[in-house]
Amino acid sequence: MKKSMNGMWKIVHIPDKPPIPPNQQPTVNVLASIIDPKHANTLIRRLNQIAPLKNACHVKRIQKKHLEGGKTQLSVILCLASEDNSLLNSLPQDVQELSNSYQLSPFVTKVCKYAATSKEEWEEQCKLWPTSYHPPTYNIDGITGFSEEDSLSVLSFMKVAIELAKSGDGLIVNAAVIVDPSVQQIITNGCDQIFSWHAPMNKTCIRNDCIEQSTNLDSHQSNGVVSPVTEVLPNASPSEPESLSCAVSCLNPWKWSEQRSDMANSYYWHPLRHAAVVAIESSADRDRRLFPGLGDAEEKSFETSQSSHIVSMVKRQKTNVANVEKKEVDPPNMPSNSVPERPYLCTGCDIYLVWEPCIMCAMALVHQRIRRIFYAFPNPNTGALGSLHRLQGEKSLNHHYAVFRICVPDEVLDIAGNRKSC
């Protein structure tokens, strides 16, 4: 791919909630009243005690309006209005008493129901009634934009994933690249292996076989050259390429059962070995390889050492973008007599997927504690990160990643002049 193509590549954050036009945000009714400014402090303190704005913490209690002639007018929210919009008889008794003693004149007005998720939403909210706005509470790089350097790095990792997606024998599959962004290193990668021409996956020999396999993939890709796809021999493929020109598992996870069975005879196949699942397994293999034989006692310290590990990783100087496609290296300059700190799963790591993952893969990435997900192509029918589901906004989960789409030209998938037919 040419560098000049970067101009056409764009990174877009996929938020936790479907975007709502800022001027169509849901509202709720509240009862408010104009007040004498000299009572403001007393009233607000009292109201916060007797009628706290539960479930509406983003709404400010007080509104200041500038009137003509340089005067200002203060209004406060007395309480949330009852559902049926019946006017003033819905005041709780203690609020009513307060209202009486300060001779307030309650009226009904609207405030935005949910906290703003963007500056645009917030500005729109304040036209109704002032609210507070906190940019996303989790602090994940990139949500507020990428620096030029970070963008280049992100795009280069996506290019690796795209090349990997095309590296099969004439078929396009989904591909995953797991990266440690603090050191700009590819940790591992994986492709769809529903119908695998790779070594059989055997659970009992996971330790050795899969390590071999992932090493092979690494070295294959670390050549830094685009695989000679034009020379792919269709005859070498286990089946007719045209029937499998697009075999992206996540696009239709149920399709495996419709595959012709004759192609599977001599090849191991597994309906759940989607690219993300394969990459997660490979990263776990790497973890066991780099940090072998830790006993139970030592395991107890993993969680506590996690935060300091991340800090040290962040402090580590970033390597040049030019090193991005370098082969996986062992933990940096590790003296042989010291035990390196083992990361907890994929904490701090990013994954690059060519297609938006299905719900199985998206949840697998939650389990493995991936920090950021970048995908190039949406998966309109079964995508779980904004298309069909939006797992990044599922509050009940114990881990949340940030999701980005990298908009790329469709041509990146061209193989030997054949357009993809996904």
Partner: protein, 195 residues
Amino acid sequence: MDSHVEEGCSSETLTFMELAIEQAKDALNSLEVPVGCVIAEGGKVIASGRNRTTETRNATRHAEMEAIDALLEQWQKSGLSVSEVAEKFSTCSLYVTCEPCIMCAAALSILGIKEVYYGCANDKFGGCGSILSLHSSTSKLRNSGNIAQRKDFKCTGGIMALEAVSLLRRFYEQGNPNGMNSIAQLQPYMMHRGT
């Protein structure tokens, strides 16, 4: 929607769930989150599995995935074709001590399993009714001619839920070696609807 029955479920169901509990105990003894399962076909257990996330350092190695992999290997070794395997899955029942998470529920749907019986609900990650309902096509699935027909599976929760929860409680009380030390982490497993 799934139902929650304890009384009235067949002795076969209870027998299989007891075997799943045995698997969960095995996980507990290995310092893994104690969730276990068995897969049965025609009244016989044909595969079992238990959590192996700590051992493998792969947080996706849930009991269901272990049992599924065992089955796929077994069936392929005996020479079954893709369509035969698909047919097989459609006659299998899964008995698992905790509601399958979103990932496992999606996997079970992809494989086209016939039915799932589970112990306690999983209010944090559950994919069979608690958070998402991936077993049921009444949940959203965009219609498209290109999408292979998805099959629903029947889902029944609350079977021997107390036993399942007590194992999880023991695990979290003794301290999860992999970090989840707070009793609050147990919340999703303890709160099962219908009881």
